[in-house]
Amino acid sequence: MRLRYILKLSFLHLVRSWRSTIVLSVMVISAVASLIFLASLAIGTNDAMIRNSIGLFSGHISGSDIPPRIDTEILAVQGVEHVLVRRQQRFLLWTDGIFEPVLLMAVNPLQEQQSTALWKKTVAGRYLQPGEDGIYLNQETAARLHLSVGGWVHLGTFPGDILKTLTVVGIYRTGISQLDQGLAFCPNEAFPSAEGLITTASFLQEGSSTDEIEQHYKRLIPSGKFRAWTEFMPDLKQLIDLNFVCMAIVMILVFALVSVGISCAFLIFTLKNLREHGIMKTMGIMPVDSTLFLICQIGMLTLCAATVGMVAGVFAVILFAKVGIDLTSLTSHNQYFVVSGVIYPRLTAVSLLPPPVLAIIFGLAAALWPSLYINRKSPADILRTV
């Protein structure tokens, strides 16, 4: 039999038994659409965790040991949105005979506010302003020094050596221990030393490759140390990988179930239409042709249904990507959602393609059972029993 004719027969069978075709399609459409949405949501969740974690302070790539002579402008390569430059040095803070060591960071307050979200974590007072002799202090250190907003603190390298006196303009708390312990900020102009280690925080544009830019940086400044967020936040990296593995397992399980469903449904249809298969056998249809006939039917059905499911899934993702899904109430105590609990589902090849591809592969596998059944059954038995 010509394949074209088998395709025509399959098409006619599907169209003319449209009720059963629709019932089967609904199963595939809903599975594909919901999995595309779920996968996009998982990617959106990963995005949100990365965005929250790097957006608070560190950027996607953090640099240290940058030689002072180097113009950090060269780090603004293609794919990089902003590069923040900070100088840092250990100092001693004291008031009323209480001493606390801190790592003081000199920052450009305007740029920091533009690119990072630390200023949103202010619990008292406000963030720094350029040029002022102010200090922005973590809550823990402030409490130890019995400081509140408006109070002042001496700064030096050893007790008694007052290099500068700064006014506390703001106190913050992030919930992340690295940022909440022994860290303080002041505007560049208020930094009491001409030296200090230069560090950088690069924020990348969406879709840029962190690894490529990191490698590029290492070539640009060989003596500098550059680390991507995947290195300095291995816990987050693992969480994201785990998320992908879970998603893959869910997809495979869902389609295995859907394909068992399709297979059962097709077997029931085949049993219901067993006489037709018997009649075709008496007309000399070969086992390969019967198998192809079933495969073409299931193939066409899953192909069409997967396409419709894909469109529906994409539509849902686009809709929710606009408004976002606010899960703040579920994420407020979570360090990976310090800035915002809004998740924007995002379509990528990983979230878009596997659901329909799996639907078609599993769908075709679902044709095997009914065709085995048909091919093993003798036409005489079929015609006698049905």
Partner: protein, 223 residues
Amino acid sequence: MIEILNVSKNYTSGRGHITALADISLSFEKGQSSVLAGKSGSGKTTLLNCIGALEKPDNGKILCNGRDICTFNQKQRALFQRREIGFVFQAANLLPWLTVAENLQFPLEMNGIRGKEQTRRISGLLATFGLAGYDTAMPGELSGGEAQRVAFARAIAHKPALLLADEPTASLDSATGYQLIQLMLSLCADQRTTLIIATHDIELIEMTDRKIYLKDGHLETKI
């Protein structure tokens, strides 16, 4: 020319051992019309199925133009059925999701008869069987007699050498059945198609050249 040599067929079922055919020997000349008559359970369907290679006899040979169809493998069997045989059963012969014309197209496609020749044959068959204008009708919309006419038309569409009909008139009233068989007999005579009809319809038995009676799997009388 079909020769049946010492064919027997037994079944084992819940009722025990059943001899459906017991050492049957028969031959059918090309173009001859025969009727297989006998009571219910006498083995008519079993014999037709063996001749049409739908079932394999336990013993014996069935020679069709000198070739023993009992030794055919699956592919040879399918090709034999596709080219040489047309089947008509008591009812529900048609593929319900194909129109009348598409049902007639099926055996032609299977035998590689396509294009103009296919169209010509389909319209010829529709006219011959009084089905003009029925080409786009679905089987579900046909009466029993019309459906059976389509089934006959489909069974001879590819001009098979052998037409096997198992109680083709059982679900029709006698006048309709009579007309249909009359038509089949004349068409088979024209095309030199060997026709074997299994039936217990007395009227029908009287219409053919040859009558074969089966009783409990045995040949009773040969006329």
